[in-house]
Amino acid sequence: MEATAAQAARTNGRPPETEAPASLPTRLVRGVASQIQRRIPAADLDERDPDYIRENLPTAWLLSSLWFRGEVRGLGNIPETGPVLLVGNHSGGNMTPDTTVFTLAFCAYFGVERPFYQLAHNLVLSMPGLSFLRKYGTVAASPENAHKALEAGAALLVYPGGDWEVHRPSTDRNRVDFNRRKGFIRLALEHDVPIVPVVSIGGQETALFLSRGDRLARLFGLDRMFRLKVLPISLALPWGLNVGDMLGHIPLPAKITVEALPPIYAREEFGNEPDLDEVYDHVTRLMQDTLDAMAAERRLPLLG
């Protein structure tokens, strides 16, 4: 009797509905989501392998120099030693050529001996065939991993814009868009490390990005299941119409230029308890100004 009353209360007096079994597509998506969650590697900074990086520098150099005609400036702005938070704008869909070009330049300039980690979306690290990224120091984007890397005295590369920025439409290719994410500032303040903005251009010319598909992502519940805010739609090789970019694509050989700016010491510049919005606006303003200048240098898309 009590159980019946409780049931009636839960259903607001209406007769209880029998729970309908999930539809096949929903079950499929949930199944894939749980598989992916299982595949996300545990945080382990020890997986970075300097010898592996050194042995693969020539391959990265070939890709960066011949395909992307990479040009990296201002590496001298990055403090020579100690922990540092490198904050980049992200471009090029899931292939992210700017990361390849910058990682090569950083490892060649400072030596593979300097610990250097990059935060990446969980999906990237759980993709079959991409486990080698962990040897480069790529770890799943989580506050825990970021703290561990900075506590270890490493340089840490983060892309606050993440999937939101990397899949922005080609029409916004010269726009820094972190979607007001300020976690990187809290991280820098907590560890009292300098922020070095790293601005890149050219990545968004490696395919024709039509839409982020953020509404589609919400419709399919991708945010809840995969932490994905977008379901991007692009025209890319070899697929033609490319929805989701889950299998990646062949990036067009656009010239990639990257520039590291002078370090920002938030507490020195904004006081002991800086206003996050103020620091955010300062960092993004500097990056946007640099990106505008770099865009003005480019004469033609792709060719640079």
């Binding site: 042995e55 020539p58 150099w61 070939l62 590496l75």
Partner: protein
């Protein structure tokens, strides 16, 4: 990759040695090099260490190097401690010239690579070699010009002093 370039400088080996044994002057004549910085207590001699970088394609390659041979007016060689595997050598030899003056044959060698990098490493070295060779050739030409101009200025100063003394 093993790259070597050489030329003859119209100055005695001691004058050339004075330039190449001074790491603070390297960036004034080395072409394509973006860094040559002393990181040891001693700026010269066996055991001196430098941080050097050279722009090749999309990256600045190099690392920490240590001088392993230091024979004044003849040989200066280094090997890498960190960064890519490399060995470099300056080789100076005296050359008597027809006009009775003494010149110096200068050779700059660089052997660089990454052990264990396989086929792509081999390919990258072949593609990078012409760029590195160009850097070395231009560096030698700039060294020659710098040394010979200094030598000309020194001789002119000596002539002026001699004339002043005679009058």
């Amino acid at each position: 990759m093993r790259v070597a370039e050489s030329l003859e400088v119209s100055a005695p080996p001691e004058v050339v040695w004075k330039v190449i044994s001074d790491p603070t002057r390297y960036l004034h004549f080395l072409s394509g090099f973006t860094r040559w910085e002393v990181v040891s207590d001693e700026p010269g001699g066996c055991g001196a260490r430098y941080k050097m970088l050279m722009r090749v394609g999309s990256a600045e390659i190099g690392g920490l190097i240590e001088v392993v041979e230091w024979v004044p007016n003849r040989e200066l060689a280094w090997t890498s401690i960190t960064g890519i595997d490399q060995r470099g050598r300056w080789r100076l030899r005296e050359r008597a010239r027809d006009d009775g003056t003494v010149g110096t044959w200068v050779e700059l060698r660089l052997t660089a690579g990454v052990a264990g990098s396989g086929l792509f490493g081999w390919l990258a070295e072949r593609i990078a070699a012409p760029t590195v060779r160009g850097h070395l050739r231009r560096s030698l030409q700039q060294l020659k010009r710098q040394v010979e101009h200094e030598e000309l200025r020194a001789r002119a100063a000596a002539r002026r002093r001699a004339r002043a003394a005679a009058s």
